[in-house]
Symmetry: C2
Subunit: 147 residues, 2 copies
């Protein structure tokens, strides 16, 4: 039985998203994995840091690059609970990451409306894994905000 | 005679770009200005920090937001020596910055190939100011690299 599946790592990203939720941030989480090892975890901290660039993916990319001592994240996979925005997708482009796996789509701000060409040609993209779990978390957050 | 002109601030951004050049980084600089006061300066530090997200604009945005204690840079102008890439343009979108002024165009990686819609609808964009000065710096950098 394989333990370190995509589902395992996406669940770790969801745990990060829940930390964001508990801190009153839009609940998005990300983990970066290389050879079944998590080298970076992050959740959205835009409100805490009052920094529009502090999306989960950006923090995870910076943290992973720091861990590897390299500006390139070749051979890494990033698991994200929400489709990256253009900023994060373009940061992933610069990182030349091998694989991007995201859960829920973001039709408003996601990069996919511009096509996969925003990412590096060598980067593989998959999505939909644990989408319902991520969606429920996002919906509860925005419903709570509207109250 | 007005001292704090666009040219004055773009020249400050060029000074930042020269610091990048002197540190063997792609020479790009940025300054953020509010009411004729520079509140953030930065140059590209991708190699130094080994961080693919450490573009001049990203560092300047984070620094300016930190100075203002706000995730929004409304009423600010950013002066950049090179056309922002998609990552930086999208970060500027999230910041809702009032005005973006850049010197040289970047036909390969610049955001303008996707149109001004990458920025916030309220953000004004101007370009071409001190383009030759910025271009010369970039060309010397890449010529030196090819040697």
């Amino acid at each position: 039985m394989e333990v370190f599946t995509d589902r395992y790592f996406m669940n770790e990203a969801l745990k990060e998203a829940k930390k964001a939720f508990d801190n009153d941030e839009v609940p998005v989480g990300a983990v970066v994995v290389v050879q079944d090892q998590i080298i970076a975890k992050a959740y959205n901290q835009v409100e805490l840091l009052k920094d529009p660039t502090a999306h989960a993916e950006m923090l995870a990319i910076t943290s992973a690059a720091n861990f590897l001592g390299s500006k390139y994240l070749t051979d890494c996979t990033i698991y994200i609970t929400l489709e990256p925005c253009l900023m994060c997708a373009s940061a992933l482009f610069w990182s030349k990451i091998s694989r991007v796996v995201f859960a829920a789509a973001d039709d408003k701000n996601g990069f996919m409306r511009l096509g996969k060409g925003v990412l590096h040609p060598k980067t593989k993209v998959e999505y939909g894994l644990m989408e319902p779990e991520s969606r429920v978390l996002l919906q509860s957050f925005f419903e709570q905000k509207r109250k």
